[in-house]
Amino acid sequence: MNRFKLFYGGSIVVLAALAAALGAALVLTAIGASPAATFVTIFTGPFTDVFGLTEILVRAIPLILVALGIAIAFRSGIINIGAEGQMLIGILAATATALALPTWPKAALLPVVILAGAAGGALWAGIAGTLRARLGVNEILSTVMLNYIAAQLYTFFLRGPMIDPGELETGSGTPQSMRLPEAAFLDRLVPGTRLHMGLVLALVLCVCVWFFLWRTTWGFRLRAAGAEAKAARYAGIHVPGSLVAAMGLSGAFAGIAGAVEVSGVHHRAIENITSGYGFAGIVVALFGALHPAGIVPAAFFFGLLLVGSDMTQRSAGVPANMILVLMGVLILCIVSAKMYLNNPYAQERAARFLARFRKPGAGEPS
């Protein structure tokens, strides 16, 4: 049976991936690009030089962090679509903290900046969590709305209170903050590239999240409330509290992703800084089966996709929006495939179907 299950699961995943590729190929054909050439560029282009390789990892860092948060939320029975907004608020908090404490030494400033980002994200997500727990407001809708609100708040701060005074002097007026003090920078891992220490942090946090969810009473509580809220309540677990906690934690990870992106890559808050990591993180979390061990490879894969699709834009003129198509279709395929992966009815039907082709006497898997 186990061999059958593996085979079954494997073929479902392959079918889902093929369906997603097919969807993307259709759109590519519609705009007159060659699907094969585009896919080759996406999947091989980034491997041609060191920069491409490191860039995959650079993209994977925020993806891992955001996806970890989303996995915590999903596992706890609350859906967080608001990572994009939580990242932005985290970036604002981290940037403001770093700029407010320019004289602090690195050992003190860097942790504080990252914690500030976490707090910002947690606060923003906490709004949606509290509304769900207290008033039953659908968290998908509220987090989506909070994304729009956060985007406006972010622009407001970059154009107004937090704008770099230099921009006002020169009159160019680019909405961006001042450069952070160097003590708030995450060190670069490979000189000459953008790869930074955030990667180590992300991997360490993966282990922490795994330990938290499966080895602590806190994680037990959150998972129980997420898997069956009624039974958790009957067992004395305070479910609304656990929803707020899960959402807050989830937002904290998005906030950390934002802080890491600022202090590791851009060194100041700029426009379009999140570049869709908040949404891509959802896909990464789902693709990684909501488990840290799955999220890491999934994040590398999507990092590759992001870098690759940037390259196709430059080389083949395929708009970078293509990546959205691919991610959207992938989500649809993953959630569809999930039902076949977990559904004993579908499994049994497939097993019986396969059994027809077996030699008589081989026995029916059951």
């Binding site: 929006n321 959630v335 569809s336």
Partner: protein, 315 residues
């Protein structure tokens, strides 16, 4: 002065409500049948772009007048197709609806954006639909201009409200839709194909969201841009909750939002100092407020909303 201001706000607000109203009525059918379609946003995006495309291509030719009509037809057809895709995923494959909706939204967003860059590229306007003042009615003082001096899509959208009510409460199909969303097992035991009803509702909902999107590009903005829909699809979903799954309630919600929008414009035009970003975020804040206040009283709504139907699954 105040009279003029009120008149301006109201006469602008009425046409502003059309896109939301159409999408929301469509979503109401989805939810009444038991499917929560967050992909509405993506369908509106596709409708907005594909509706715009024929009008854009035919702009200068002899067929120009038909461009817009064709645009609406294409948008509705695209909506049906996306509704079908969503039905395949959530009804046949029984996928989790919330996340699938986000997938459909990303897809619609991505496809519209990609095609837009390839076929159009930049800011280009289209003619739009001319106003058709209704003879007689539009001459009623004050109200005439607010209600009866608009393009034909406005009238069609408002006629959709009683039409939806009739469809939902007075026809066999409406009866099936309501049963499918509330007690699918009961409907099934009476020989109603729950999944087929859900497919149909999703196709209808998709068509209406597509039309709503096309209204934005063809009549309201008279152009297409990536962020044209700007969350209206999500707002439409929220309005269904706010409107308690009834056409009249949905109309009320759509008007509330469009009036807020025209009020915001009026304030800006009047030159009152107010950071632009805060004005833009107003409708989104309003959605959260509306959702926080409107809740409970589930007795009237579809109690099996979001639950895939599987006859043989006992637990």
């Amino acid at each position: 002065m105040t009279h003029d201001l009120v008149y301006n706000i109201l006469s602008l607000g009425v046409p502003f409500s059309v896109a939301l109203l159409l999408a929301s009525l469509g979503e109401m059918f989805n939810q009444r049948a038991g499917v929560f379609n967050l992909g509405c946003e993506g369908i509106m995006c596709m409708g907005a772009f594909l509706g715009f495309l024929p009008a854009f291509f035919l702009k200068t030719g002899p067929l120009a007048p038909y461009g817009i009509v064709l645009g609406f037809a294409v948008a509705a057809a695209a909506g049906v197709a996306m509704g079908l895709l969503f039905a395949l995923v959530t009804v046949t494959f029984r996928a989790e609806q919330g996340i699938a909706g986000i997938g459909l939204q990303m897809m619609g967003w991505g496809v519209a954006g990609t095609l837009f860059r390839h076929f159009v590229g930049g800011v280009t306007g289209v003619e739009g639909l001319a106003s058709w003042p209704l003879p007689g009615l539009s001459r009623i003082p004050f109200l005439g201009g607010i209600l009866f001096n608009h393009n034909p899509m406005v009238y069609i959208a408002f006629l959709m409200v009683p039409a939806s009510w009739y469809l939902l409460f007075k026809t066999p199909w409406g009866l099936k839709v309501r049963a499918a969303g509330t007690e699918p097992r009961a409907a099934d035991s009476m020989g109603i194909n729950v999944n087929r009803v859900r497919y149909q509702a999703l196709m209808l909902g998709g068509a209406m969201a597509g039309l709503g999107g096309a209204y934005l590009s063809l009549c309201q903005a008279k152009m297409f841009a990536d962020d044209l829909v700007a969350g209206r699809g999500f707002i439409a979903v929220a309005l269904v909750y706010f409107g308690r799954w009834s056409p009249l309630g949905v109309l009320g919600g759509a008007l509330l939002f469009s009036l807020a929008q025209s009020l915001q414009l009026a304030i800006q035009v009047a030159g009152i100092k107010f950071p632009y970003e805060f004005a833009v975020m107003l409708p989104y804040v309003l959605v959260i407020l509306v959702l926080s206040l409107a809740r409970k009283a589930r007795m009237r709504g579809p109690t099996h909303l979001g639950v895939p139907f599987n006859r043989e699954m006992r637990y």
